[in-house]
């Protein structure tokens, strides 16, 4: 199978347009699908599934942010707020109008997309750090609005309890059920993004990222595509917010503050800008690393310190290690975990030869 990689030997349009041209890639994807749908949920304890669920939610948000930051080159520090827009829209529709989950989800996403496109308007004139500050303003304005307008937030506590999602008469409550529920959305988001970035729209995004003036000259409508990038990315964010709301059973604005936006930016930078796999790697890394570090500290901390000291040291050391490891990984490979993975892959592809 490996030698087939040489040359372009495609004889049909289907083969040319395949998402995974190599058989080995197709098998890998199939194996991962079997693992995630068939093995993981039936062997792992519910606790581990709950961690996977957190990763799933983060992965969808990271994919969306990567479309904007990684593929279109427009920075956003407002994704936490876009998530809250989705969350509160869905929660309001679900509670006040008794909309079922499958109707509240797209409404939340669309509302976030609309708000995101509005917040993205400054991107038409400004770039880089200036845009970061403009989206930061968006984050703060949205946060303030939700916090103070009781029509949206449902009261001074700014939290709306939503019922558990129901699909085909089945109430999704346990982590086990949530796992399948969220995984389906991860698959949708991943396949959607993979196809988006190789479509006409995606190529326009990439052209804008690489050089927006050149892109405009070759006939890409910058106005349209920049706002479209904001809208699509915010749609993902909105959906993430809705899923998070249904996962917790409550929409609460304190779950979507500025540090959430920063966390998601960290995910895609660590995972790799402009890559689908990188977004997922980043989501896994940022969610899992603190947990893994804590287990390591709990196992080995007792060797060095007393029990009371360990309790005090673990959380602090965890923060330091978390920061440190991010730096280590970025120094080892500035282009993120995705690039690291590709290096490993190409090393084994030609193994035992050097190249």
């Amino acid at each position: 199978m490996i030698h087939r990689e040489c040359g372009v030997l495609k004889t049909s349009y289907e083969a040319d347009m395949a998402l995974y041209p190599l058989p080995i890639a197709r098998w890998t994807v199939g194996a991962i699908a079997v693992l995630m749908f068939g093995v993981v949920p039936f062997t792992l304890h519910e606790y581990y599934l709950s961690i996977v669920n957190l990763v799933s939610i983060a992965a969808i948000g990271a994919l969306g942010l990567n479309i904007l930051v990684g593929y279109t080159g427009q920075i956003s520090v407002g994704h936490g707020a876009f998530m809250s827009v989705g969350a509160y829209t869905a929660a309001n529709f679900a509670v006040r109008l008794d909309w079922p989950f499958w109707a509240a989800l797209p409404i939340g996403g669309l509302m976030a997309a609309a708000v995101g496109a509005v917040v993205g308007i400054p991107s038409l004139r400004i770039k880089g750090l200036y845009l970061a500050i403009a989206t930061l303003a968006g984050q703060l304005i949205i946060e303030w609005t939700i916090n103070h307008v009781t029509f949206i937030s449902g009261g001074v506590q700014a939290s709306i309890e939503v019922p558990r999602p129901e699909l085909f008469g089945l109430r999704i409550t346990s982590q086990h059920q949530m796992y399948f529920f969220l995984l389906a959305f991860v698959v949708l988001a991943t396949v959607g993004t993979l196809n988006l970035v190789r479509s006409r729209v995606g190529r326009a995004f990439i052209a804008i990222r690489d050089h927006d003036i050149a892109a405009e000259i070759i006939g890409i409508n910058i106005f349209r595509y920049k706002l479209l990038a904001f809208a699509i990315s915010s749609f993902y964010a909105g959906v993430t917010g809705v899923l998070y709301t249904y996962y917790l059973g409550v929409a609460n604005y304190e779950q979507f503050q500025i540090n959430v936006s920063i966390d998601y930016l960290a995910m895609i930078i660590i995972g790799g800008l402009g890559s689908v796999l990188g977004s997922i790697f980043g989501a896994i890394f940022v969610t899992l690393l603190p947990i893994v570090i804590r287990y390591a500290m709990e196992a080995f901390g007792g060797l060095l310190f007393s029990e009371a000291a360990v309790r005090n040291i673990i959380p602090n050391l965890r923060l330091i290690l978390f920061g440190g490891l991010i730096i280590v990984f970025l120094v080892v490979e500035p282009e993120g975990l995705n690039r690291l993975w590709r290096n490993i892959r190409s090393y084994f592809r030609v193994w035992p030869f050097a190249y």
């Binding site: 609460n252 287990y295 005090n312």
Partner: protein, 411 residues
Amino acid sequence: MRRFLAFLAGLVLVAGLALPAGANHEIVIGLQCDRTGATQTVGVKLCPGYHDYIQLVNSKGGVGGHKLKAIEIDHEYKVPQGMEAYERHKKEGAVVIGVYGTPHIYALAQKLTEDRIPGTSPGFGSAAAADGVRYPYIFPIAATYWSQGAAAVDFVKKQLGGLKGKKLAYLFFDNPAGREPIGVLEDLSAKEGFQLKTFAVPPPGVEMGAQVLDIAQRYRADFVIAHLFGRSPSVSIKELKRVGYPLRKVVSFVWGSAEADIEAAGGWAVAEGYNVMQFAGVGTDFPVLNEIREMYKKEGKEPPAEMASTVYYNRGVLLAALHVEAIRNAVKAKPDGKLTGDDVKKGFEQISGFTLGGLVPPLKITSTDHEGGGLVQIYQVKGGKFEKETEWFSAYGDVVQKHIKDAGKKS
């Protein structure tokens, strides 16, 4: 590349080794903590207090012969980490969870009910959770913000000798927790005939010069009720002092009332006169604290430095004591110690008249009232320490009850 792969393999190995092994037959308690996040000043003092009390109970043979095991997980005040912590506690078989953080108790409300595990939220969280019928598995077990607001107004009334026509300022952190008592305060303003003006401090809450100046020189408030978190209480003390507002006319809610706040404001001399509200007894003079010191002495160790911060340390002891009391009640019903969350829930609902030598207010928790009466004490900064001004009291129970009922109707 090869070296990197070796590093990666090593990492995986470490992670594998680190996974915890084995279950045990102890009674497991889950404790969420915040020693590193936004309200870090609370966590570093409160959590040691919690563990010390649990250790004290274990050193006396546990509860009905069953040892207790408190598993602490720090969540940096982040909700996803809090969710993970909860699932971990559930996996370890925790029968009661000490939730920490307002967003966390909101996020866990539905889960706790579905999994039938009681969770406690002393002094924070949703005031509506005092309604044990609507939130059967959430136990505020201390005065909620509504009760604190009512108690503050009552205290002001006594200080000013009547409220009619007086001007009260409410200085609050502009987040849901900060706004929660406003409804109660407005109702009381109508009832008692005082003027109420609210002054919001936007997050992160370290800039309030304009608000304080307004309170002191334009509005000229007769009394200030402050409800601030984290670093902002100390800033409020400093600012009020700077504009010359008398601190004896300020009363703070429970999260702006610790030694750490006074010290950060510039020391005890600066804060002289400042009134603080407490839901656990303050000071070192409690039999239970003496027992903890004895326990450390027996082990040949110094008592922990955290004990000097009596406000948060004592709250940790209070939280642990109430958890243990609930477990004790549950073990009475089920002497074999194989408790479920439901047993402990019933245990909580039997707590009555348990005071721990004055450190805990005489709560009466029932299946409908999970707050236990909303009792607080007020202390004043006087001569370098907190001096008790009032005994345990609660006020305007009818107004608070009305709000709890209304909250129940809305959903």
